[in-house]
Symmetry: C2
């Protein structure tokens, strides 16, 4: 495949659009209808989770999809509101305004705008690699803890009581103090809806297969479970007049297309929101890219992570200007889109049309939808995110990764989503830097009758007392430069007969300026003690750079192409009669 032009790189639609035809259109349209049906209750539910009016969820599912279709590189990613970002939006907006106020909605819109701008800027600067700072253990810990927080936050809607809190202790405390006010009618809707949705997730697909549906059709039909729950509970609410009995209903949703909205330009508000917006951007990007990569690999397609940042940035900016809140590529909806046969991002645009039609004509039907049904949808969706196997696996595999995972879970539960992510990143980075500052190195000796050199502690190898060979198993960078000095000088201090030190650099891919200064310092200090410093097996690119410095002239010893040659020549250098036979045999 030829390299795309600059324009085509920033507008992927120019690539896939050229081969668009009738059969692709049909497949995309079918996928769009299925995803639309699934998205309507989900969008309402996630808006509820974000503490926003339900219609905001619909707005966030229209223009963002069109923007992603223009700028995104995944063929099948479905963009829109997702659970974790909804929770993060609630936490950030809740910190600057009270729910159900215009300020709260403005904060959510501003978050989307800030996040969109940040994503696009990161994309243009090609800084997608920063998402690497979120390791798998941190992400999975964050998702598990968020799942628990989100499910807990929805229990109040199942009970029909009020409550709040940004973290688990607060949420549980507010539930405990209000549980006496439970509305039995709300409970009578919420509990069956939850059980039904759990059954849909686990039991419906096998049942559909038993009555003869094909696996793919059964899969898709099972995803429509929430729509059935919505229809049945609306019916119940109307027939039993549940509004009279104190059951919270969705109520009037404004009919019509998304409004033109403008994010706030108040610098005080932006100062309060930029950190949460950055976290929302990074978490959203990581979630979206993981999904997009998984799906792309299944069809041997590729995505371009830096262009994905631009695509998601455009989506969020579109969301902000159409009265929505932060969006990203969601796992469940993308899989449905993929399974339903979507072939190009156009399917997303058709889905947008579907949601737009729904918000024009269907919203009156949702007037009597109980909030408890939406809460049940959320609870069932997020509990599948809670992963109880990972902690044990990590504990067995790597204590450092386990520590980062646990720190993320505990902080997220106790101090909320923002501190949770930050703690995970910081703990992961500190552990990484700690290990990077103590790289692996070994004193090596020659394996008898070969040219190989191995760790003296693990193998039965040959050494001579006046030559010390140290193999360094890492690039020399500023993180381990100080360690290198200490390590070499301590090994020399332990072996007073040493006259030659050979640093075997076969695993050294890079020597940065700090590493070079440490080598110079080591050379200087060894010279002071009458010891020569030699290098062996220096890689080509490293040697090229060393040649641009004065180091190779200052060095007391020499640079050898092979460790074997260095050892052979230097052990001979002041050979004494006590040396073993194989010097005589010419093996060294």
């Amino acid at each position: 495949m030829a390299e795309p032009t600059l324009l085509a790189r920033y507008l992927p639609i120019l690539q896939w659009g050229r081969t668009y035809n009738g059969s692709v259109l049909t497949n995309d349209l079918v996928a769009a209808v299925i995803v639309t049906i699934m998205l309507i209750p989900q969008s309402l539910a996630y808006a509820l989770l974000a503490g926003l009016p339900p219609v905001v969820g619909l707005y966030a599912s229209i223009l963002p999809l069109v923007a992603y279709a223009l700028f995104g590189t995944s063929r099948t990613l479905a963009v829109g509101p997702v659970a974790v970002l909804s929770l993060m939006t609630a936490s950030a907006a809740g910190a600057v305004a009270a729910q159900d106020t215009a300020e709260y909605l403005e904060a959510a819109i501003t978050l989307a705008a800030l996040s969109g701008i940040m994503l696009a800027v990161l994309g243009f600067l090609r800084l997608g690699f920063l998402a690497n700072l979120l390791s798998h253990p941190v992400i999975s810990g964050f998702i598990t803890a968020s799942g628990i927080l989100i499910a807990t936050s929805q229990i109040k809607h199942i009970l029909g009581i009020s409550g709040g809190g940004d973290n688990w202790p607060e949420m549980l405390g507010s539930l405990a103090s209000n549980i006496g006010l439970t509305n039995p009618w709300t409970l009578a809707i919420g509990i069956p809806a939850t059980l039904f949705l759990f059954w849909v997730r686990g039991g419906l697909k096998p049942a559909l297969l038993r009555i003869g549906l094909k696996p793919r059709a059964a899969d898709i039909a099972a995803k429509a479970g929430p729509v059935i729950a919505v229809a049945l509970t609306i019916l119940a609410a109307v027939m039993l007049d549940l509004a009279e009995k104190g059951v919270d209903l969705v109520g009037a949703i404004p009919q019509g297309l998304p409004p033109f909205a403008t994010p706030s330009t108040d610098m005080d508000l932006i100062a309060q929101l930029w950190v949460p917006a950055l976290l929302i951007s990074v978490i959203g990007f990581v979630e979206s890219v993981s999904v997009a990569q998984t799906l792309a690999a299944k069809r041997r397609q590729r995505i371009a992570p830096d262009q994905e940042l631009i695509g998601l940035g455009a989506s969020n900016i579109a969301s902000a200007f159409s009265g929505g809140y932060p969006v990203t590529g969601g796992f469940a909806r993308s899989v449905v889109n993929f399974d339903a046969g979507a072939e190009t991002p156009a399917a997303g645009a058709y889905t947008a049309i579907g949601i737009a039609l729904a918000s024009l004509f269907l919203t009156p039907l949702l007037f009597s939808l109980p909030i408890a049904t939406l809460a049940a949808t959320i609870i069932v969706a997020v509990l599948s995110l809670v992963d109880l196997k990972t902690p044990g696996q990590l504990w067995r595999y790597s204590k450092a990764d386990f520590a980062a995972h646990l720190a993320t879970i505990v902080t997220t539960l106790l101090a909320g989503v923002e501190l949770g992510v930050i703690t995970g990143v910081v703990v992961g980075l500190l552990l990484y830097l700690w290990r990077a500052s103590r790289p692996h190195a070994a004193i090596v000796g020659r394996v008898p009758e070969t040219e190989h050199f191995r760790n003296v502690e693990r193998h039965d190898v040959f050494t001579v007392p006046h030559v010390l060979s140290i193999r360094i198993d890492e690039s020399l960078t500023y993180l381990n430069a100080r360690w290198l000095e200490e390590y070499v000088l301590e090994r020399v201090a332990d072996q007073p007969e040493v006259r030659h030190v050979i640093l075997m650099c076969s695993a050294v891919n890079e020597v940065d300026a700090s590493g070079l200064e440490s080598l110079e310092a080591i050379n200087h200090r060894l010279s002071d003690s009458g010891i020569d410093l030699h290098l062996s097996e220096v890689k080509g690119p490293v040697m090229d750079r060393l040649k641009r410095t004065e180091f190779l002239e200052k060095i007391g010893g020499r640079v050898f192409l092979s460790q074997n040659r260095a050892f052979r020549e230097l052990s001979r250098d002041n050979a004494d009669p006590s040396l073993p036979d194989d010097i005589a045999r010419g093996l060294i």
Copy 2:
């Protein structure tokens, strides 16, 4: 040397104290006298630089030295006020209070206390490795920029005008607007004093050698230059009655021992000061450890960096409680101490006694010392810190290191010391993470007639189309896990005939949980395409951990001890007649 007991580790005096005798005492006493003479003008000058009353500099040179003698591990480090920390103290204290107020002094004392506590905590937690985050290019950039800032800040004292500013543009602006008010008498003291001190630094030692002094004696005598300048300008001030002519003099310094002071416990103040205190701690620690390591290596001694943190922490706490400000091990004074023959930290304690005697009896003599003399001392001392060679060397050696260096210099000059350090650390870390996220890897083939495998792009090697061998030159960690997936899958996409992928892991020292997940994802996706994933040359410790997981059972292919064996067996696997001769020759 036996491992010290826990108590002896935390109280190094228990080790060196046991062998203390008369000849060591004599050497230490001589060194103490010389250092005391040098320290008196320096302490006054640095207190001036910190914006504090001169006597605070003396206080900071008494108890901190005793504390370091008890807890420090360097035999010859001389602790006290230093230029860079004085500038950082002025910047931090100036942000919360106006100079010459009780609040300003309290802020300086509190900075010392916070910094002392942080250093000690870092030491007990053995977190000294965090200082590695300051790379050589960042430190040297910071020192150069600080030298320029400090010298600029002192010009006003040479001119006898007032001025201020935390950064270069502010300082230059305030100088430019006040230069018309220059006091000619101050200038007449300041310019000759500066020139004299420059000559002392460059020309005095050769002159002393010419008149027959021994090199070491000449060295030490040259360091006494500031004392001569102090004496001469005091004389001039008294004889010419310069106070009458508007020349600023040191004035009355309270006589007596340091008072008992208490740092503030006001949480608002601490909230404002903790970031500068942390930066002061890290910069101070890095400066001190570099000096201590250099001197220790000259005598084949060792220092213990984590215990150094405790020693410097104790010094700063001692400084705070005796009315001083942040201190650390200084370069110039430590070298003088070393050259003058100090053998143990006791020399520091004797110096403390010397300074205490001076603050009891000598301070009246300093009444008429012109401030311009102290400013000249500072200017001459810090201009030697400015290093104009390093930027060019870094540019030639490593563009990334040059970028971190330049960013540190520019930010320090334009935005002050705190932002300068932070920028340097962040830029250095980002560049490191960027490189760590794109490690080196290569497709390898067999060097004909050998068992060696080399990069196909650099060597003329043998490969077969259905076997793809990829050598990974880095540990697999979360920073490069996403890269690994992309790299392997893209190489496979480029070579459609591939049926076997061999990852050659000879340089993989570690696979963390994210790396493992990426290997699993690669295996999964390759399996989907009917390709087997194999590993070769997996190191022992890595293999041990992989065995604790299900990965080795799930993997489509096998784990081979050597790359050669893997390649030989897999190329044979579906050998076809078009393969070259050396298969027939049994070489693969």
